[in-house]
Amino acid sequence: MSLEPQELIELKSKIGRDPTSTELQIIAAEWSEHCSYKSSKKHLKMLPMKGPLVIQEKGYDSGVLDVGGGYVITAHIESHNHPSAVEPYGGAATGVGGVIRDILSTGTRPIAILNGLRFGNIEKDQQARWLFKNAVTGIADYGNCLGIPTIGGEVEFDDCYQNYALVDVAAVGFGKKENLIKNHAKKGDLVVLLGGSTGRDGMGGSQFASDSLESEDRSAVQIPDPFIEKLIIEAILEARNHKLINAMKDLGGGGLSCAVSEIVDTLEVGIEMDVDMVHTRESNMHPDEIMISESQERMLIITSKTKLKKLQEICKKFRITCSVIGHIKSDNQMHVKKGKKTFANLPTDVVVNVTLLDLPSKKPVYLKTIEKEKKLKSISDYSKIMMSFLGAPNIASKIWVYGQYDHEVGIRTVIKPGHDASVLRLDNGKFLSIKIDGNPKQCYINPREGAIGCFEEACRNVVCTGAKPIGMLDHLQFGNPKDPEIFWTFLESLKGLTDFANYFKIPCIGGKVSLYNETPLGSIKPTPLIGVLGLIDKKPLIPQKITEGDCLVIVGDTKDEMGGSEYFEYVHKFVGGKCPSVNFVESKKNMKTVLKVIQSQLLKSVHDCSKGGLAVAISELCMMNQIGCKISLENVPGEKLDIDRILFSESHSRYLLILDKKNLKKLEIILKKNKVSFKLIGKFMGDKIQFTKGIKSIIDLRVDMAQKTWINSLKDLVLHG
């Protein structure tokens, strides 16, 4: 239990007596960092959360966007880092389960999952390989069984996650606006616990997640059961259709303690509940254990007495248990009993309102020197470098991962994983484009610019499909916030995201903060993860097959911004230099222009230029289309740069436009008119990836050889080390 001495004194003074042991457990769960956001809440308010499409309702755990025609999209992001670091299969699987229930609690059907996975160096570290392999299997087994497609994500490896794992899961829901649950409750309503039984797994999970990971507390990891979750989804959606649900909340971190206290406080009512009514997995569970167990696949529903019978019938059909555990009162108290005996009786506002912290922050010392570049070894053979680079874990194709996820079920997936952003078709004739992006290497060098970069990259990716960004999800993952240097990086990232969101008018519709991500070697690098949702009114740009003679035009300048690049870190093992920064004006201009060009239907496809720089982005196009290219590096727009910078700089706001030669003139007219920086840099032809500068050949690789390395290297690493 992790209640601070000061917090205990505060609790006593608020309730005017010593708390009971059950009360202490409830408070410790709800006041934990994981549930209360006590370190971050004050600052999170700076993010813009309102917008013309945003629907805000009482007590929602996920964001809601109106996408027109009477339909809404819901979205949320969660992580399950601590559990996944200890038990990757169960940790990752239950991470999926939790965020799915957040979507479900609004009354919408979950239609997609995305995940961001981060591990240590899998080339050197067997433990990292084990974590990676099992986290992927956990996600696959859970999502596949639910029949919710895992449509995208990202995977990254970095030494800072040694013996640790970041498992972030985002989920999207879709439904009719009229079916949204409008949370409400009145005196006499019944409180029903539905789904899996409450056991001794996941005890104190939220507190476990609110501390540095020092012991491998496996009992704090929950046990996944996707089959029950699937039944819960169908049962709840059926109950929703019959209007049986007055209010609903998922049981996540803090278990019953948090779900019960938060929902009654939000709805400004009270509750009297009996732990003997909770269906448990084993006998003789103490009330304290029942209140803080984080057993999975449970939902809390508030219903009227008259609706109970029908709700029970639906649960019976799906053979899931539902127990009436209490009733709503009007006294704003959370009263927990076992039979007739009281174990806790607390004012709900005391339970849910922890004293928010205003932690000190200080610019980290390491940042003073980090931007200085050291002299690097010169590269004599770029073809050779490129070949090993394409097989590098962070660059290589992630097909081994997404090939294990059912990304087709639900028959909505128009653009499938392996491209920039994934696109789903919606029932109102529109399309939803989604991408998540993180970049700890750049965020470490510059927490502000790095975070903005993640945001812009996610936007760029949805723009590549022809979508306009309409909402953002943020997941802020940092180390111990009590370290002022770490807290400074948190604030800088948050400020950067806020500035970008305000400038582009993209509201933050949901998010999560995960702190205390520490490994035995110290804190992880700052790892904000940004999800962007984009809407396409008419038709997405589905990448068409590139054929002989197609032209390649680049939009956006390439700059000398190599800090945090894969090239510096993987090829030169150098952490440092100036990281890419986003020029807001330029970024907006490029984004708008690319969307305009896509709408004019001149393009075969658009590809984002990011990790690994121009060289990797163009090679990906060649390998995916099994065609060669001839690229003239001297034509790449931007300041005059050395060859390695042109090839591998990860400057933002750049797009690769692929088109039939006959559309080139028309394209150039639009690009000129919109005053963006652009250039025709080459064409697709033959069976070799060729980069030249003047008459000098820089890279010359056979597409089939490159493709083999790119496709197979991750799988080979996982299977054979």
């Binding site: 299997t137 596949n144 996707p226 089959f227 059909k317 053979r319 059912d406 028959i411 128009v414």
Partner: protein, 226 residues
């Protein structure tokens, strides 16, 4: 023409199949919960994909004991067209309506990818509109999709023309590259790939026409003109 889509606890392609039958092919389609019985006047039954009972014990084995299976067995004997897709195929095999068994893929992983099928029997109610050896681009999504039969049964299958679909290349290590089979009468067909995911051009990156023929074959067999 009335088509029934059977829903087991954990089925998850039922809604996709229903959408295709109703919205794409305009067929009168109804869901049937596994504890209900099937009406006598039904013309075809489809068992959709998913994870019935969470694939516990073995994919399809628990669902094979559902009350509705008795009705399906009766209909199979009467010659009514029955199609099992993915988990539906596994259930048909586990309930003894089709020969063989489905094992874990050779990779030991769940596999979701687009492959090519080759039509080996164009006499079934679900393949009569195909040319023999016609190619169908179609996705698979399964963990236990490796069809296995012993050599003797394989000989029988060949002899009675019960191999309906083969993969064009080795995909998961299945016997004889088999992807779908039928009963000796030909009216009960099981296949691992998902035709319901391939009939609409919007979500089919290759060619949606061959997959559509699976449903159009059924319609021709039943005398439905669209």
């Amino acid at each position: 023409m009335k088509v029934g889509v059977v829903v087991f606890p954990g089925s998850n392609c039922d809604r996709d199949m229903y959408h295709v039958l109703t919205d794409v092919f305009n067929l009168d389609t109804q869901y049937y919960w596994h504890e209900k019985s099937l009406p006598k006047n039904i013309d075809a039954v489809i068992l959709p994909g998913g994870f019935s009972y969470g694939d516990r014990l073995r994919a399809g084995v628990i669902a094979a004991h559902s009350p509705i299976i008795k009705d399906i067995q009766k209909m199979a004997e009467k010659g009514i067209p029955i199609l099992g897709v993915c988990n539906g195929f596994q259930i048909l095999v586990e309930s003894g309506l089709l020969p063989g068994v489905l094992l874990k893929n050779e990779s030991l992983n769940f596999m979701c990818e687009w492959i090519n099928l080759i039509v080996e029997n164009n006499k079934t109610p679900f393949t009569n509109q195909f040319k023999l050896h016609e190619k169908i681009p179609i996705p698979i999504a399964n963990g236990e999709g490796r069809y296995y039969v012993d050599d003797n049964t394989l000989k029988q299958l060949k002899k009675k023309n019960q191999i309906v679909f083969r993969y064009s290349q080795v995909v998961n290590g299945s016997s004889n590259r088999i992807a779908g089979v039928c009963n000796p009468a030909g009216n009960v067909v099981g296949m691992m790939p998902h035709p319901e995911r391939a009939v609409e051009s919007e979500i089919n990156p290759v060619d949606n026409k061959p997959s559509s023929l699976i449903f159009e074959s059924l319609m021709v067999k039943m005398g439905v003109v669209n």
